[in-house]
Symmetry: C2
Subunit: 314 residues, 2 copies
C-alpha cells in the first residue's frame, strides 16, 4: 500500500508528475496551494472581489467554487440550463444540490425559458458544431450576469488538461491571434468583465479526486454533444505524451505562459477600437447586429430539436 | 483500382493530405516540384552552387541527392562511417553503390579509422545518449568537409516528418532558443557553411516511394541506437494527429515557418560573438577546447564498445 508523501498515512492518489502519493487531506492541501499560487502568480483575484463562478455541474466548476469558498473568497454561482436533454437536467440537479447544502447564492438562466432556444436547436439552426453556439451563448450570458450583478470577476473551472488541449490545437495551427489571448486571466475591458481560471495548475484527475474526497456529487458524463470533438482528441494526445514522460503536460502549458506568451504580447488582433454597439442589445460588435443576437434570432425561430435527434458527428 | 490524379493511369500511392493518388511519373513530378518550391521559397541554393550532400544510406539522403542531380545541381556526396556494426556496414554499401552506378563523387570519412572512435564507444565513454555524440560528430565533420572541399552549401535529407517531430519536441518544452533556430536554411557564419534541407515539404512515405520508383536501394532499418528515442515518439504522435486530420503535420510545420518563425527572429541565443578558437583545432568555442575535440579525446581513449553491447535504452 502506497503512503502519503507528507504524513505517511495510506494514500488515495498517485501523482506521477509530482513523483508522489497523497492522502485525502494532503491532496486537498496540494489543490488549495496550487489554486493560491495560480491566483497570486497571475493576479486573478483580490481578497474583497465579488466573484461569479460559472458552474456546469461537472467536477471542475463545483471544485473551483468549493476551493474559492475554502480560501475565503466571496463567490456566488451562475448556472446556465443549456437544454441538452437528460445531461442538462442531471447537471442542473447537482449544481442546485451543491448550492442548497451550503446555503450559497446560485443564479440560474435557462436558454429555452429565457431566450427561446437550446443548444441542440441552435446547432441545427446555425448548421455549425454545437460547441460553437454553446460557447457563444455562455460567454455572453456570463458577461451580462457579471455586469448586471456587480461582480468583479467571472471564474471558470478550466483545468490544466483543458488549457493544454486548447493550447495544443492553437499551436498545431500556429494561430498567433488565439495563442496571444490564451492566458489564465483576461483583464476587464469595456463591456467585458475580468475573467480568471484558477484551476490551470491542476488536472482533471486531481479535480475528480477533490470532489470524491470532499463528498461533492457531480455530473460524470461528458457532454453528449461534444463526443468525438477535436478538443477531446488533443486531450488524448497529451495524455499519451504525459504517460511516456510525466510532467510534460504541465510543462507544455506553464512554460508557454512563462516563455512564449510574453513574446506574443501585442499580437492579438482582438481590438476593442472601431467596434459599434449592436443595434438590438448595444453590445460591442464589428457589424450591425452582434453574433449573440443573430444566434438568438435564428435559433429561437427554429423548431425545437431534441438532443436525441442530433446524432454523433464523427 | 485508384487512378493518378494527373493522367488517370493506375496509381502507386495515395496522399491523403493532397486528397489525391499518383502514378510513379507524377509522384516524381510532385517531389521535384516540392523540392524546387522549398529551394526557391527559402533561397536554399543558387544554380551554380557547389553542393555537398550528407548521405547516410537511408531513403531521404539518397533521394535528395538524386533529386538535386535531376534538377541540374552540382552535388557531391559525403558519407561518414559511424561504426554502428552491421547497420553502418550495410548503409555504407548502399551509398557506394548509388554513387558508383551514377559515376558521382563520394567523399568518405570513417570515425574509427580517421578519428579513433565510433558512435557506440563514444556513447559509452561520454555516458550520454548515442544520438548526442553522433550528432556532434556529424555536424563538425560536415562543416569541415564543406570548408576544406570549397563547397557553398551542406544539404541534408531531413524531411517533413523529421522537422515536424523536432518542432513538436521544441514546442512541448517551449524552447525559444531552439525554436528560433529551427529553419530549413541556415546562412553561412564565420567558420560554418550554409546548410539547407530541401525535403522539408515532403514526407518519409513520399521519399520511400521516390526511391522505389527510381530503383534506389537503401538502408530500410532504423538506426539501432535510436530505437525508442523521444524523437520517434513525437513522430508517432504526429502520425496519429495526421491520421485523424490529414494535412495537419504539414500545416503544423509550414505554418510555424510562415507565422511563428518571423516573431522569433533575434531570439536565438546562438551568438558567434565572444567565441574563442579551440586550442587544439581552432574551431569557434565558448571554452578552451571545443566539444568535438573533447569528444574525440574521451572516446578514442576508451576501449572499443561493440554495438551489440549497448542494449536498448528504454
Amino acid at each position: 500500500m502506497s503512503k502519503c508523501k507528507v504524513c505517511r498515512e495510506p494514500a488515495i492518489i498517485d501523482l506521477p508528475r509530482h513523483n508522489a502519493n497523497f492522502c485525502g487531506d494532503h491532496l486537498q492541501q496540494l489543490c488549495r496551494r496550487q489554486v493560491e499560487k495560480a491566483i497570486s502568480d497571475f493576479e486573478m483575484l483580490r481578497p474583497d472581489d465579488r466573484v461569479l463562478v460559472a458552474v456546469s455541474g461537472g467536477k471542475d466548476s463545483l471544485a473551483v467554487w468549493d476551493i474559492l469558498l475554502e480560501l475565503g473568497y466571496n463567490a456566488d454561482g451562475l448556472y446556465i440550463g443549456l437544454g441538452i436533454g437528460d445531461y442538462s437536467d442531471i447537471s442542473g440537479r447537482y449544481v442546485r444540490a451543491f448550492a442548497d447544502e451550503r446555503g450559497l447564492t446560485l443564479r440560474t438562466i435557462d436558454l429555452r425559458e429565457d431566450y427561446g432556444y437550446d443548444v441542440p436547436t441552435a446547432a441545427r439552426a446555425t448548421r455549425r458544431v454545437p460547441c460553437s453556439a454553446c460557447g457563444l451563448s455562455k460567454r455572453r450570458l456570463f458577461d451580462d450576469a457579471a455586469r448586471d450583478g456587480g461582480y468583479d470577476v467571472v471564474v471558470t473551472g478550466h483545468n490544466l488538461d483543458d488549457e493544454a488541449a486548447v493550447l495544443l490545437g492553437n499551436t498545431l495551427r500556429w494561430d498567433i491571434d488565439y495563442l496571444a489571448r490564451q492566458l489564465p486571466v483576461l483583464p476587464a475591458t469595456s463591456g467585458f468583465p475580468k475573467k480568471a481560471k484558477p484551476l490551470v495548475r491542476l488536472t482533471e484527475r486531481e479535480m475528480a479526486a477533490w470532489c470524491i474526497v470532499r463528498g461533492i456529487d457531480y455530473q460524470v458524463e461528458e457532454c453528449p454533444m461534444a463526443a468525438g470533438n477535436r478538443h477531446l482528441g488533443y486531450k488524448e494526445t497529451l495524455n499519451q505524451l504525459e504517460a511516456r514522460s510525466p510532467g510534460s503536460k504541465a510543462s507544455f502549458y506553464l512554460s508557454f505562459l512563462d516563455r512564449m506568451a510574453p513574446l506574443l504580447v501585442g499580437h492579438s488582433q482582438a481590438a476593442t477600437d472601431g467596434l459599434n454597439g449592436c443595434e438590438r442589445c448595444g453590445a460591442p460588435t464589428t457589424g450591425e447586429v452582434c453574433a449573440f443576437c443573430r444566434l438568438v434570432a435564428t435559433a429561437s425561430a427554429h423548431e425545437q430539436v431534441p438532443v436525441e435527434m442530433m446524432g454523433r458527428r464523427r
